[in-house]
Amino acid sequence: MEIKDKVIKYGNDINTDLIIAGKYTKTLSNEELAVHAMEDLDVHFTKKVKGASIVVAGSYFGCGSSREAAPVALRAAGVSCVFAKSFARIFFRNAVNVGLPIVECDTDRINDGDTLRYVLGSSEVINETTGESIPVNPLPEIMVKIFQTGGLVQYFRETGGY
């Protein structure tokens, strides 16, 4: 699967309270989560994401709480992929488990408004605006399996366990 879209770029340390505040997480409706995604960071996020579905950040994206609602809210808001220099570990697992594509790479080489092209699972992302090819860090094998199955729920439905 290929992702090609424009970039919305943010900085370092985007925490889970900014991605989705605790007060909005008391719902089983992914659409309700989507409405409030990134609200305390950027009130225009849900509009912007319609024309630029790739979120790019600096280091330590998703730090803070274990709330799975964070990657779910981003996915439901229409985010196609998150690129960051590094991710907090629980967010990293949660994203793979819920099927939100995430990629670790040198995001200093990506600017707000650039267009990226990335084939899920490949070893590089192409910045079409600058013409650069940026190498990405591979996922561990178990995460690749979970992601390729469509997330951890589907993985368990198909395999029945680890």
Binding site: D13, N15, D17, L18, A21, G22, K23, T25, K26, T27, L28, D40, S59, Y60, C63, G64, S65, S66, R67, E68, A69, S86, A88, R89, I90, R93, N94, N97, V98, P140, E141, I142, G151, L152, V153, F156, R157, G161, Y162
Partner: protein, 406 residues
């Protein structure tokens, strides 16, 4: 081969193979802790995975703490969905008012030395204070563990933190861990385990150790052990550490984490005199008996400064009862505090005490992110219970040392 860290030992024991930093291992999990906040999503994922029965109901505890008692009809109904599952599966249930999940996991002995525990909450790392490898996972990860009894783990490298000398009066375990976080940084321990060493741990209490282990996740840590002779598990002498950090406790001072990040360290002296509106003592970080007592000892006989509100929330029912028996609650209430039932309360901004726009909040909790307590327009300073109590008397951020009665 070199010796093993505590994390390597526990993951080796639970995977049945030699687990070294960087390896990915599949482990049998000893205990699972599920709070109400993420429990709802855990139950949904369990059903979506077509789970029928949990692997072992005696290995799973659901706790109604993050948003209980529920503040409205909507949340009450969501909790009913979760409670129906808990009752039908026969897992361990801690109802609203019993306490914060991490306090209960230690108090009730579900977490202990050498155990592998996962919790659907990032502060699960608290149980490193009793020697458990304990780490936070998301809701779907938890559902998978409840079905299979297993999960996969990347064996973390370990950062060794050496604390030397004695802690000065008026400083607490909270000041130590805020100082460590300030030095290592919010991302400095991402994916890593921690082992803390020092004579301090031979003298300090379990409450102190829990405060320190609780906040390793604020450096990205996966788990963290407060090592001392009575922990019940120890690393090999020739274990390999990725980094060693030295902290001189003699140089620790009362300190704060300024808005809006936990590693935004400053000594109290830098922010002293700033007016405060609202103060909160509670949470899995500093809602224990000794925290309440430290605040009561400073507040006893005094009154909150005019315009300052204080909310006190014991971290468990046992703590509440002891604080009542020993007169600690009376001292706090006489000084002007409001007391709420044991729960997460104001820490996470979903029930029990939200600050207003533009207010300055002192909190003994673990996160000061924008919006954390339910209002993105409030400024949260993380402090020790002593700094909080002294500041409540004066109405401005205040160094507690002159107020500490020896």
């Amino acid at each position: 081969m070199p010796g093993m860290t505590i994390a390597e030992k526990i993951l080796s024991e639970h995977s049945g193979k030699e687990a070294r930093a960087g390896d990915i291992v599949f482990c049998d999990v000893d205990f699972m802790v599920v709070p109400d906040s993420t429990g709802i999503f855990t139950v949904r994922s369990f059903k979506e995975m077509e789970g029928k029965k949990v692997c072992d109901p005696n290995k799973i505890m659901f706790v109604f703490d993050h948003c209980s008692p529920p503040p409205n009809q909507h949340i009450a109904n969501m909790q009913k969905y979760e409670r129906d599952f808990v009752l039908s599966q026969g897992v361990i249930l801690a109802e609203g008012g019993e306490g914060v999940c991490h306090q209960l996991a230690v108090e009730k002995g579900y977490a202990s030395a050498g155990k592998l525990v996962v919790g659907a909450d990032s502060h699960t790392c608290t149980y490193g204070a009793v020697g458990a490898f304990a780490t936070g996972v998301g809701a779907t990860d938890m559902a998978a563990t409840m079905i299979s009894g297993k999960n996969w783990f990347k064996v973390p490298e370990t950062i060794r933190v050496n604390l030397k000398n004695d802690l000065p009066a008026g400083c607490t375990a909270k000041d130590i861990i805020l100082t460590v976080i300030g030095k290592i940084g919010a991302e400095g321990g991402n994916y890593k385990a921690f082992e803390f060493y020092g004579d301090y741990f031979e003298k300090c209490t379990l409450d102190d150790r829990m405060t320190i282990a609780n906040m390793v996740v604020e450096m990205g840590g996966k788990t963290g052990f407060t090592c001392f002779s009575g922990l019940g598990i120890q690393a090999d002498e020739d274990a390999v550490y990725c980094e060693t950090v030295e902290i001189d406790l003699a140089e620790v001072v009362p300190c704060v984490a300024k808005p809006h990040t936990v590693d935004n360290w400053a000594p109290v002296s830098e922010v002293a005199g700033k007016p405060i509106n609202y103060a909160f003592i509670g949470s899995c970080t500093n809602g224990r008996f000794e925290d309440l007592k430290a605040a009561a000892d400073i507040l006893r006989g005094g009154k909150l400064a005019r315009g300052v509100r204080l909310l006190v929330v014991p971290a468990s029912k046992d703590i509440l009862l002891r604080a009542a028996d020993e007169g600690v609650l009376k001292d706090l209430v006489d000084a002007g505090a409001a007391v709420f039932t044991p729960s997460c309360a104001a820490c996470v901004g979903t029930h029990g005490g939200v600050p207003a726009d533009g207010e300055t909040v002192l909190s003994t909790t673990n996160r000061n992110f924008k919006g954390r307590m339910g209002n993105p327009n409030a400024d949260i300073y993380l402090v020790s219970p002593m700094t909080l109590a002294a500041s409540c008397l004066t109405g401005v951020i205040t160094d507690p040392r002159p107020y500490v009665k020896e």
